[in-house]
């Protein structure tokens, strides 16, 4: 994983063939894994509660209860430990002078880049869990529904700064952007 930034952009003459892309520099907030862990745990807790109710009313088919319980515990442990840490290792974002670039996902990974000149809106979203941990998600949309860039779980201060920077650079509304 490379965390440096290549300096000295050369755009004179025909550029040589591009070999690859450096990963974006900035990780999500340090509190992000905790937020993802708790967010990931919630569906498993709901499942476990449903199972508890089931056991309370019906104790036949004990083997099925055990299999389901093992499955639930396994899923909960994975989404509590493996997934958040994996996501934290993958998630990266960076704002350049021309474009915004992110890397997201864990099992299936996506890198997405969008030109700032085509940005239409910059949205910030803070769910209840995000507010608990002082986090914010930033979504940068363009005219294409397939091109929105999501930057998840940033510190609020970082997110505010990013939004301010983006709205400054992108003269939003100046052109049609399609």
């Amino acid at each position: 994983m490379v965390s440096g930034i290549l300096d000295g952009v050369d755009n004179r003459g025909p550029s040589p063939a591009l070999v690859g892309m450096v990963d974006p520099a900035h990780p999500s907030s340090r509190r992000a894994p905790l937020r993802w862990a708790i967010g990931g745990l919630v569906p498993w807790l709901v499942l476990a509660a449903g199972q508890a109710v089931w056991i309370a009313f019906d104790r036949r088919l004990l083997w099925l209860h055990i299999v389901l319980a093992v499955f639930t515990v396994l899923g909960a442990v994975i989404s509590l430990t493996v997934v958040p840490l994996w996501r934290y290792r993958v998630h990266r974002w960076e704002l350049g002078p021309l474009a915004v670039y992110t890397r997201t996902g864990w099992l299936v990974q996506e890198r997405r880049i969008a030109p700032i000149s085509r940005v239409q809106t910059v949205d910030t979203y803070r769910g209840p869990l995000d507010r608990l941990f002082g986090l914010a998600n930033v979504t940068v949309t363009t005219a294409s529904s397939a091109g929105a860039v999501h930057i998840a779980a940033l510190d609020v201060a970082v997110a505010d700064h990013l939004v301010a920077q983006l709205t400054d650079i992108a003269a939003i509304g100046a052109e049609d952007a399609t």
Binding site: S15, V19, G20, M21, Y101, T142, A143, T178
Partner: protein, 496 residues
């Protein structure tokens, strides 16, 4: 609103008064259950005034629709709006900013055509669905060119200049030929129509009494005499024949008399045998085109052409420029639109051995699994021979599809156009203007990471919005994006 002196204030206009004839008829059709109820009530009570009352009420509501609907077009083409007021009880005002208008379509069903009317539909960039759009139902056909010119006028162009308009020549790009009908039965539309019709008949409850009728009994007799296999064969032949006829008929009704022509900066498309439809597209919104070749159409050397345009839905009938027609016609029209023959017919760069391996494993994975299960069963007990024959046929079919998909997969990129081809069953060649690409996604599943390939998705505001290019070798994927988009090549993350 309250200042009548403003120049941009234009008077509200009504739609064509001929709609006073159309609306009551439509209203009668719409309120058919009510009408039947009225007739039943009238005949049971012996008092026909019920029927008359219901009839009069429906006609009055229909007529009232005309009196309550009005529209206006504000004069300023930059900041002005077009507005539509409608609704009997629920008044609704639809406003569309004039500079947001992307395309204008007209549509004339049979009744409209007989009265010389056309429904005019305005679509904007964001939502192109018909229900939410701006629809004038209906205006006189001879007013349509004037309205279209006004609605599509850019600020720089003079709005009412018939002299200029007639000076610009029309270039006909394609004209419908009866021979195009040979591609129509190769789609599934005929079978689907038949399925829908069968469902309707079954729903209506006609089948119940039919079951014991003389017709059904004689059919059963015939089936018993012919035997099982022959009956199935006859039924299959009838279904196939009927679906072929239906599909050809549907294609004839929809696309007969199709003319695609270009006048200055607008692309015009008109088609339909009974129901006449006309679309006008702003050429500056064109971001490319897609050649579509379903397997059977491809075998007969045909292709369809879709427009990739902002403000026009990328899937379905609204984006169709040409229905399945000879490949050379589709290619020459697309070449005329993009201006570079290499984009349309030029050779493509394949995705290499690892992408090919993935096609094989994906196509043959399931057949191999089924084969293993079959083998286990064969060893344990006995398995009928026809199962193995069927398995062999399915496996061979999958292998052929995989080979065809490998042959199709490829791309071509320069600084102006990105071309991507893929698919076997539904092969498509997407030609996309790189200027219209406003985002790139490189996506990798765990399997793709292991095979060192990635799916590259070009995001655009036009067409289907999302144009994926599957299984590009990892070391080429960003080079493709960089060649198409200078802002990728010049970004701070680029490695050269």
């Amino acid at each position: 609103m309250s200042l009548p002196s403003s120049r941009s204030e234009t008077a509200w206009q009504r739609l064509s008064p001929r709609m006073l004839l159309v609306h009551p008829v439509h209203e009668l059709i719409r309120e058919l259950p009510l009408l039947i109820g009225g007739v039943v009530l009238g005949s049971t009570t012996g008092n026909q005034s019920w029927t008359v009352a219901v009839l009069a009420w429906t006609v009055a509501v229909g007529a009232a629709r005309w009196f309550t609907t009005s529209y206006r077009i504000e004069a300023d083409s930059e900041s002005g709006q077009v507005q539509l007021r409608a609704g009997l009880l629920h008044r609704k005002v639809t406003s569309v900013p004039r500079n947001r208008i992307r395309s204008v379509q007209t549509d004339a069903r049979l009744l409209h055509r007989l009265l010389g009317l056309a429904v005019l539909r305005v679509s904007t960039g964001q939502e192109a669905r018909a229900e939410h759009g701006f629809v004038l139902d209906a205006v006189r056909v001879d007013q349509v060119p004037r309205l279209r010119a006004i609605l599509l006028a850019e600020s720089s162009q003079p709005v009412d200049a018939p002299a200029v308009e007639s000076a610009v020549s029309n270039t006909v790009l394609a004209r419908w030929q009866p021979s195009w009908l040979r591609y129509a039965p190769l789609s599934l539309s005929g079978l689907l129509t038949m399925g829908a019709a069968a469902g309707l008949i079954y729903q209506s409850g006609v089948v119940g009494p039919l079951r014991h009728s003389r017709l059904a009994e004689s059919a059963l007799d015939a089936a018993q005499r012919l035997g099982m296999a022959a009956t199935v064969a006859v039924i299959a032949a009838v279904v196939i024949l009927a679906s072929v006829v239906l599909a050809a008929l549907r294609s004839l009704l929809t696309y007969a008399n199709l003319v695609l022509w270009r006048r200055a900066d607008a692309l015009h498309l008109r088609h339909g045998l009974l129901r006449l439809r006309e679309h006008t597209y702003d050429m500056s919104r064109l971001r490319g085109g897609t050649l579509r070749q379903p397997l059977l159409v491809r075998i007969l050397g045909g292709a369809g052409l879709d427009a990739v345009m902002t403000g026009v839905h990328g899937v379905g009938e609204s984006s169709v420029l040409l229905p399945p027609c000879p490949l050379s016609t589709a290619e020459s029209v697309l070449t005329g639109l993009v201006g570079d023959p290499n984009v349309v017919t030029g050779p493509l760069r394949g995705h290499g051995r690892r992408a090919a391996t993935r096609r094989w494993t994906r196509a043959l994975g399931l057949p191999m699994l089924i084969g293993a299960v079959l083998a286990v069963f064969t060893l344990a007990s006995s398995v009928p021979l026809w199962l193995w024959t069927a398995w062999l046929a399915v496996t061979a079919w999958c292998a052929l599809l995989a080979a065809d998909r490998i042959g199709a997969l490829g791309h071509r990129v320069d600084s102006h156009w990105l071309v991507m081809r893929s698919g076997s069953w539904e092969r498509r060649r997407d030609c996309l203007a790189t200027a219209g690409i406003i985002g790139w996604t490189v996506r990798q599943s765990p399997f793709q990471r292991r095979a060192r390939v990635a799916t590259l998705v070009a995001a655009t505001a036009a067409g289907t919005k999302r144009y994926p290019l599957i299984d590009v070798p990892e070391d080429q994927v960003w080079a493709v994006a960089a060649q198409a988009s200078p802002w990728v090549a010049e970004s701070i993350w680029a490695i050269r």
